[in-house]
């Protein structure tokens, strides 16, 4: 029965046929035009996906990737999928027609995001929230309420969202995912920066607690658990890249899914199957600074922030791998580039008056600037080699932003001025799409299609878990004594 729906897509009418090529020429469903849009998944995102899109798969398969998974036993009944498929195909005609209309203020992101961003996770997964003692969450927050406002606040708001969400279940037997609410990024210095030195021990202590109190951890050694680690380098728990690489991801989290802000290809601290999320940016504050959309965009390139981190790297070269310093040295005299280190009160308003906003890496490749640029309609110019952007499997970042290699920074003005004007207008139309902006935000209370729901969508796309994650009794994979000795101290 489940084979009925296997690699198929359009070919579900001929279940015996082998799919060897993209189904462009045959359209057995009447009215369905042959797809003309290319693979919506940028090559940069394809590594991190738990499934393989756009390879040996029809176009429609790429729109509903969950259909493409090769599973011997499908959890989802094949029959349920036919009806939405039919609706999808009829919508498809409308969507393709929509794309070619000129002079539309917003453009529906064609391909995956048009659907996937609008998915509703309720009903597709169940999450069980462990009840940890308050020393892991509430007490930490009480000690320092600044944690609610900094860019790592996603862990706290996600916890609050899950507690009152419809996907929460109180029966762990039926849960697909297990969430451990431990606030590891809330130990702040007087300046407000989080110290990660106790975080590994805190995490380890939490895992020990859940593995002894509930049987679900040992059942899979954490493969159906997820953790939110929004710190600089995720679960490597250090702010310095070299130290973080040396530490690697906490060993106990080897099999769990990590929801983190850090994303860089071929990096120790980005695990396969992690979900990359945007950093927290205060939604009300950004809404309060909106200006009328007909205010003409008169700034070509805008950036506010440090170029040299004088406190820690005065000569430059370490900070941002020299990219920010290069931007400054090359473009400080260029009238098209409005860049400085000031902190103006009109920062948000200025972004809404700019066409391009630079989002270069800092000590870590991610920054809240990307969120701000998307919310304010300014095309993000990402200068960070090999970065993995938030929700890369759902948002076609290549079509929305401009990616510049760090070695090409001296040619940034040439690159930006040579982008064809139609491409720029299209990017602006895509950015004007409210579903894009909504997906980057963590509003309180949660709204539909916001970042919380995108995280749940990402978790739902990883379902169902493979049989092999369920360990046989007595089988052990994790080594509880691995890692630096200091981590083993109890917290």
């Amino acid at each position: 029965m489940a084979r009925f729906l296997l690699p198929a897509g359009i070919e579900w009418l001929n279940p015996t046929k082998q799919i060897t090529s993209i189904a462009r020429s045959r359209s057995p469903i009447p009215g369905l035009r042959a797809p003309t849009t290319p693979c919506p998944f940028p090559p940069s995102a394809q590594r991190n996906l738990p499934f393989s899109p756009c390879k040996d798969c029809s176009f429609l398969r790429s729109r509903r990737p969950s259909l493409c998974k090769r599973r011997s036993e499908g959890v989802m009944a094949g029959g349920f999928r036919v009806l939405p498929l039919l609706i999808l195909c009829s919508l498809f005609q409308g969507i393709l027609g929509e794309e070619h209309q000129p002079n539309r203020p917003t453009e529906r992101i064609s391909g995956s995001a048009g659907d996937v961003l609008e998915d509703d996770p309720v009903g597709r997964l169940k999450v069980f929230v462990y009840e940890l003692p308050s020393k892991y969450n509430k007490k930490i927050l009480q000690k320092d309420p600044r944690c609610l406002n900094h860019m790592f606040a996603a862990e706290i708001y996600m916890h609050r969202f899950l507690l009152s969400s419809a996907v929460r279940t109180s029966n762990p037997e039926e849960a697909d995912w297990f969430y451990t609410p431990v606030y590891t990024t809330c130990d702040l210095t007087p300046n407000g920066l989080p110290l990660p030195f106790k975080s590994p021990r805190m995490m380890r202590s939490a895992i020990e607690l859940i593995s002894t109190t509930w049987p679900y951890w040992n059942r899979t050694e954490g493969a159906d658990h997820f953790f939110i680690t929004p710190h600089d380098f995720g679960a490597c728990f250090h702010y310095q890249e070299e130290k973080a690489i040396e530490r690697g991801i906490l060993h106990l989290l080897k099999r769990a899914t990590l929801v983190q802000t850090f994303g860089q290809r071929n990096h120790v601290c980005l695990k396969d199957g992690s979900i990359v999320i945007p950093p927290y940016a205060p939604p009300q504050k950004m809404q309060a600074h909106l200006i009328p959309p007909d205010t003409p965009r008169s700034i070509f390139v805008y950036f506010r922030g440090l170029f040299y981190d004088v406190g820690n790297d005065p000569e430059g070269g370490y900070y941002a791998r020299g990219a920010r310093a290069s931007v400054w040295e090359n473009f400080k005299n260029n009238p098209l580039f409005d860049i400085s280190t000031e902190h103006p009160t009109t920062y948000y308003e200025d972004m809404q008056r700019a066409v391009f906003c630079l989002c270069p890496l800092g000590w870590a490749p991610w920054s809240p600037r990307l969120v701000e640029a998307v919310v304010f309609g300014c095309i993000p110019v990402v200068i960070a080699d090999d970065i993995v952007l938030p929700f890369a499997d759902a948002i076609p970042w290549e079509e929305i932003g401009v990616f510049v290699a760090e070695e090409d920074v001296p040619k940034l003005d040439t690159i930006l001025t040579s982008i064809p004007i139609e491409v720029i207008l299209r990017k602006q139309r895509l950015l004007a799409n409210p579903s894009m902006k909504q997906a980057m935000l963590f509003p309180q209370p949660a709204q539909s299609r916001d970042a919380f729901h995108q995280i749940l969508n990402g978790l739902a796309r990883k379902l169902p878990h493979e049989e092999s994650v369920y360990l046989k009794s007595g089988q052990k994979i994790l080594n509880w004594t691995a890692g630096p000795k200091g981590d083993l101290k109890p917290w």
Partner: protein, 517 residues
């Protein structure tokens, strides 16, 4: 090395104690590095280098000793900074090594980073990178031009999407006449109108017939101009002038009616200042609309003691310098805000060109916009609460404001967020009515009299005008009251003036004495 490890742990101003507190992180790392026997040698060498640099006065870069001794160093540890020297494009910070210390790239064997051995080929390497600066980091003019094209196109797109859709043409009615300040006012208005993104026709009604001055200014206009001569001359007294301007505007409206010009009629006086939002806002009018006008009456008035009294009066009721529609809370027109002219009534200007406050009339024409179809003889949908234009203004009827064109003034639409947004300002600034200015503001090169600047008297003082004499009388009475010292001082100054003017023709000195009196 150890120094660099400490430096890195100082990143982000974390206190050192916390680095030690973290404990488990720093100690094993250090322990793994310093297994080599050279553990004491390197810090000592580094101290030596520091002393050398302190003596020499420039920074003896760690780079140098790394490069010289790198083959001897223990096999790379993770905390060891990797130096990446790129090609001549790189320019290091001037604070670091002098160019002579930079070894040729061939000497440096970059040690392969061990950490990424475990990963699939990582292009991105941790450590110190060069700062890439291109040799001529100056803007390229062609690129700047392209960027401006992009900006213009983006703004056009914004206007298309968020701005006014299907804009109706605008008919701008301006009464004017040739005088000193005409070039100033008309040029400003011309440039404002040239910026308007909607189709526009400018009807310029000129008192005293068409003149070369006006034609010269309007010749550089990019908007289509319709010059309408008006036979009468502009009077000198302000009240008469307001009346004549109203008749000139009516004349323009009649022209619009005859030719059946289509659009929205905007009354733009040449000395007023308009914002671009005004032209977008008036597109919303259906038949007749009213906007709020900021009244800048204090254009030339100096601080007088009576202003204090005025300010005290302000505390009781605010005298907002605005004329416009007044709305109730549900957005319906209930009345009109007018500018309170009582405090200034005594000091108001009577003649054009006095340096005192010019007061506006009760409701200025510039605050109203009319759909031109209201003026046509027949138009579909034309409402019946409008008087026929042929019946207006005949038999000596004075039209003070466009409201006189209507039978029912309550049906005027308030624009600009119900009058809350002020999008134009009324201003009257004029020179003395008999002031001379070079024709078309071009100085004819043959000047008959050339006198040195220091001693240039006014060659021909024009006769006193009525208001000047009145003002002098007042001063004269005030002087009697003032103290002797003041009068003696003034007498002295007059005497000095007399001396200076001894060289010049007597006519001047006679006049100056007469002035003083």
């Amino acid at each position: 090395m150890k120094q660099s490890a400490v430096q890195q742990s100082n990143r982000r101003a974390y206190p050192r104690s916390s680095a030690g507190d973290g404990g488990g992180v720093a100690a094993p790392a250090d322990g793994s590095v310093f297994k080599s026997p050279g553990v004491i040698f390197w810090p000592a060498f580094h101290v030596l280098c520091c002393l050398v640099s302190a003596a020499a006065g420039f920074r003896f870069s760690r780079l140098l000793f790394l490069l010289l001794f790198s083959p001897l160093a223990p096999s790379s540890s993770s905390s060891f900074p990797r130096q990446h020297l790129r090609l001549p494009l790189v320019r290091q910070q001037p604070a670091t090594a002098l160019p002579s210390l930079l070894p040729p790239p061939a000497v440096l064997p970059p040690p392969p980073p061990p950490n990424s051995k475990s990963l699939a080929s990582s292009r991105v390497v941790v450590g110190r990178h060069g700062i890439r600066v291109r040799p001529w980091p100056h803007p390229d003019p062609a690129e700047v031009a392209r960027a401006h094209e992009i900006l213009a196109r983006v703004q056009q797109e914004q206007r298309l999407q968020y701005g006014v859709k299907d804009p109706r043409p605008i008919l701008v009615v301006t009464p004017t006449y040739a005088r000193t300040f005409q070039a100033l006012h008309l040029t400003g208005l011309l440039h404002s109108l040239m910026l308007v993104p909607h189709p526009l026709t400018w009807l310029v009604v000129e008192a005293g017939g068409l003149s070369n001055e006006t034609s010269a200014i309007l010749s550089s206009s990019l908007v289509p101009v319709l010059q309408l001569p008006f036979r009468e001359q502009m009077p000198v007294v302000w009240s008469d002038r307001h009346r004549l301007e109203a008749r000139m505007r009516l004349y323009a409206l009649r022209v619009i009616r005859e030719r059946r010009l289509d659009g929205i009629v905007l009354f733009a006086d040449d000395s007023n200042v308009h914002t671009m939002e005004l032209f977008d806002e008036i597109q919303k009018v259906e038949w007749m609309g009213a906007v709020s006008v900021g009244i800048l009456a204090h254009s030339a008035a100096p601080e007088t003691p009576s202003r204090k009294q005025q300010r005290e009066g302000d505390k009781e009721n605010s005298h907002l310098p605005i004329q416009g529609p007044a709305c109730n809370s549900s957005g319906h027109l209930i009345g009109w805000h007018t500018f309170n002219t009582l405090p200034y009534a005594k000091k108001a200007a009577i003649f054009v060109g006095e340096g005192v406050i010019v007061l506006p009339s009760k409701l200025e024409w510039s605050g109203f916009v009319i759909n031109s179809r209201l003026l046509w003889k027949e138009a579909e949908g034309k409402p019946n609460w409008v008087r026929d234009l042929d019946d207006v203004g005949i038999n000596g009827e004075e039209i003070e404001s466009p409201l006189d064109l209507l039978k029912d003034a309550t049906l005027v639409e308030p624009l600009g967020n119900c009058g809350k947004k002020v999008m134009l300002w009324w201003l009257r600034a004029e020179a003395r009515y008999d002031s001379k200015f070079p024709t078309r503001w071009v100085i004819d090169p043959r000047l008959e009299i050339i006198v040195p600047a220091k001693r240039t008297p006014w060659p021909e003082a024009p006769p006193d005008l009525v208001f000047q004499q009145m003002a002098d009388d007042e001063e004269h009475t005030r002087e009697h009251v003032s103290k002797k010292s003041k009068s003696s001082r003034s007498k002295n100054s007059y005497r000095k003036k007399k001396k200076r003017e001894a060289n010049v023709n007597t006519q001047v000195s006679d006049l100056s004495i007469a002035d003083v009196k």
